[in-house]
């Protein structure tokens, strides 16, 4: 049992990269600062989700209260939790099915298969439970505020929130284990990452649509209740078919009756039972499916094919092109980098577009909007287009993680007769490619939304390019100054890299300031171009030689 506990601890640590938080005593001031930064970002995300949860719950409550059916709130919210948790749980279970070679080490140890699966189950469950609890607490708080239910109501709610994620997660593994056992081509980190990435994207869009459509009706209780009423038969049918949600709802409706105790106990047995039974049933197959994960496909070429292949590949290139080419390959061949980097340029506009389409009617109906649309003609839309383009352009995290991502190659690179200034310049060029792409996408999208003319779009595009390039250089400088080099999992270099978080937040701040300044002071087009087009470009160009000098010195000093 001791081995099981430490296995759970190991998984949880590697899931959340907790180690810096765990031994607070040993931290140096710089690390404390860094952790405060992380905590701040976490808080931002939390507030964001909190806002979302509160709005959704309020919308549901108001809609139901209009019909006098507020007791159904917990039916709807349990079902929402179940669906939400199932989707997130499925993706998390899939993306953590095989953690970067960790399983290879664990499989060697004399551990019972059920321990491996159960430990992973618990680690995934812990984040599901947190989401479920947060949602349930908001539901209970809103219901509690309006209806003042009995104390036992809260007990059943808390218990239900902990139990609800279990069956969906068990179901996820019931899908995943056979799938991984049968489909050999999926037993590969690259395939898994791509699959989860696409799935995640689709779900993000789906949830966004649902939440947006709920929230766009926030102001209109009638519409909310119509929407609720339309979906009620489905909810009730779902609760009849899906016992945990139904049982929880019933227990919370009559919290002090004996039935509530029986229903909650039944729920406990049901949820725990399915989890335990699934874990034991699947453990053997799960462990077997881990064997041979991450095999590379190797095709040997025939002698003549090889000759042609070498002839094609062995071509001389200028060094700078060789370096840029290497940067592009290194990034594109790591799905984690691809999904959290350049993919953002596609993902963000998609979400923006959905938000816009969902809110469009409400937006157009709002009398204030008329003023905004009127403003759009007078340069306001152009500023927004420039800000959106610049944000997308600088949002790929390529510059902010450029050196960190290269940790494994850096020692070998340093031994080559390469100008390190050129080496870092290649990273900048790589990032600039996506600055260009992001600026085009962002400007084009906003220009289409507000039907901006070509001249204004072009102006916006130039400003976007200039500002994004400036932000990019700053981000690269940041990652040169404090690269994250001691990682074992590429996620740490990209997703969990403070530099990319700082760069994105910094870009948001700067571009926010820009938009406010440009709109508030009603700066005319020529001046805008001068201040936010020419000036950032000149500043970047002027800074470039200083950056180069700094980078060469910094790289020479790095202990590798």
């Amino acid at each position: 049992m001791k081995s099981f506990a430490s296995l759970v601890k190991l998984y949880i640590k590697s899931f959340y990269n907790l180690s810096p938080f765990l031994d607070l005593k040993k931290l140096k001031p710089a690390q404390v600062l860094k952790n405060l930064g992380i905590a701040l970002v976490a808080l931002l995300v939390l507030v964001n989700f909190g806002f979302l949860f509160v709005s959704v719950n309020l919308a549901m409550y108001w809609g139901l209260a209009m019909l006098g059916l507020q007791n159904l709130l917990f039916l709807v919210s349990s079902l929402t939790i179940t669906v939400f948790v199932f989707v997130i749980g499925f993706i998390t279970a899939l993306s953590t099915y095989y953690i970067n070679g960790m399983e290879n080490h664990l499989l060697v140890l004399p551990l019972a298969p059920w321990k491996l699966l159960a430990a992973k189950f618990i680690a995934v469950y812990s984040s599901m439970a947190a989401v479920s609890m947060a949602f349930m607490i908001t539901s209970m708080a809103i219901f509690g505020f309006y209806e003042g239910p009995k104390p036992l109501f809260y007990l059943w709610g808390f218990m239900g929130a902990l139990l609800l994620p279990m069956p969906p997660l068990a179901l996820s593994y019931l899908f995943l284990v056979p799938m991984m056992s049968v489909a050999g081509f999926l037993r590969n980190r690259r395939a898994v990452m791509l699959f989860t990435g696409v799935l995640g994207l689709l779900c993000a869009i789906g949830f966004n649509m649902y939440f947006q459509s709920l929230m766009s009706k926030m102001a209109d209780t009638e519409a909310l209740s119509v929407m609720m009423q339309n979906s009620l038969p489905l909810s009730i049918a779902a609760a009849g078919a899906y016992f945990p949600a139904g049982l929880l709802w019933k227990a919370m409706t009559v919290p002090e009756q004996a039935a509530a105790f029986i229903q909650s106990a039944a729920n406990l047995l049901l949820c725990l039972g399915t989890s335990i039974v699934s874990i034991f049933a699947l453990a053997g197959a799960y462990t077997r499916s881990l064997l041979g994960f991450n095999e590379e496909s190797v095709k040997r070429l025939s002698a003549s094919e090889l000759k042609g292949f070498l002839g094609k590949k062995l071509k001389r290139k200028p060094v700078i092109l060789a370096l840029v080419d290497r940067e592009i390959k290194n990034l594109n061949r790591e799905p984690v980098y691809l999904l959290n980097g350049p993919f953002v340029i596609i993902l963000l506009p998609l979400i923006m577009l959905i938000v816009f389409l969902a809110q469009k009617e409400a937006f157009l109906a709002d009398p204030d909007s008329a003023k905004i649309i009127e403003l759009a003609g007078s340069g306001f839309a152009m500023v927004i287009a420039a800000a959106a383009g610049a944000f997308l352009g600088s949002g790929s995290s390529i510059a902010a993680t450029a050196l960190s991502r290269d940790a494994k190659d850096l020692a070998s690179i340093k031994s080559l007769p390469l100008d390190m200034g050129l080496f870092m310049f290649a990273k900048l060029v790589h990032a600039e490619i996506f600055v260009l792409l992001g600026s085009i996408v962002g400007c084009a999208l906003v220009s289409l939304m507000f039907s901006i003319g070509f001249a204004d779009s072009l102006t916006a595009f130039i400003m976007a390019l200039a500002m994004a390039s400036f932000i990019n250089l700053a981000a690269l400088w940041l990652d040169t100054a404090r690269p994250k080099l001691g990682w074992t999992n590429p996620i740490a270099a990209m997703k969990q890299n403070m530099n990319s978080v700082i760069a994105i937040l910094g870009a948001m701040g700067l571009l926010g300031l820009f938009s406010v300044a440009a709109i508030k002071f009603d700066i005319e087009k020529g001046m805008l171009l001068l201040f936010f087009g020419l000036a950032p470009i000149l500043a970047s160009l002027a800074a470039l030689p200083f950056y180069k000098k700094y980078a060469v010195k910094r790289l020479a000093e790095l202990d590798l």
Binding site: E296, K313, A411, S412, S415, L416, P417, E557
Partner: protein, 253 residues
Amino acid sequence: MIELIAVSKTYAGSNIKAVDGLSLKISDGEIFGFLGPNGAGKTTSLKILTGVLKADSGQAMVDGTDVSLDPIAAKSRIGYVSDNPEAFAKLKAVEYLNFIADVYGLDSEQRHKRINDYSSRFEIRDALSSSLASFSRGMKQKLFIVASLLPDPQNWVLDEPMVGLDPKAAFALKSIMRNRADSGKTVFFSTHVMEVAERLCDKLAIINKGKIIFIGSFQELKKLEGEDTSLETLFLELTEKSGELAGNGDAVL
């Protein structure tokens, strides 16, 4: 020609000197073996020589050029096989070799010829179209050796090059080393394989705790210790002795 002059290095965040006032000189035409227990400072010294690490004090010279003053000129005279098998894992073998050839500015004909020659010799030509991630440890080692030979460097620096090599590849490596030295080039390598060092090296340095405890030929070592025995025995005695002496900081030179 390679020269380290009173080189010292303490890693950031460490309080022990990984390399402590180390000096050695390797002339053209020499095979020079670098021996010492684990953690003695071999890799650190080689990294300083190849510009991967910056020394706290002292100089590293390659054919008369100081690595820290003119790194590009110095490094273009070195071919280096590092001890890190993780590098360049995302590239295909041929892409990696082509990258190295681009960095050293080889024309298309040279790179074709050398890649074909050396990869056939080490029997990895068939695997050149595969990704490095699919390579075994020994295959990677062979590839890194091939890459280090592409610029036909005057100075060949290898960190434990025998690791993972099969007997045929090890033999090929040793004969390339000999041939290069005979044609007036410098070979500098670290190893834990005493038999290889004993038979192959013109000169040896034994290092312990960052300091040189012996420098000279195998014959000289035997004379100094007054014993006609294997390098293995002498190495064990010497490192043992210097470990005891380390307390008063003297090196046996």
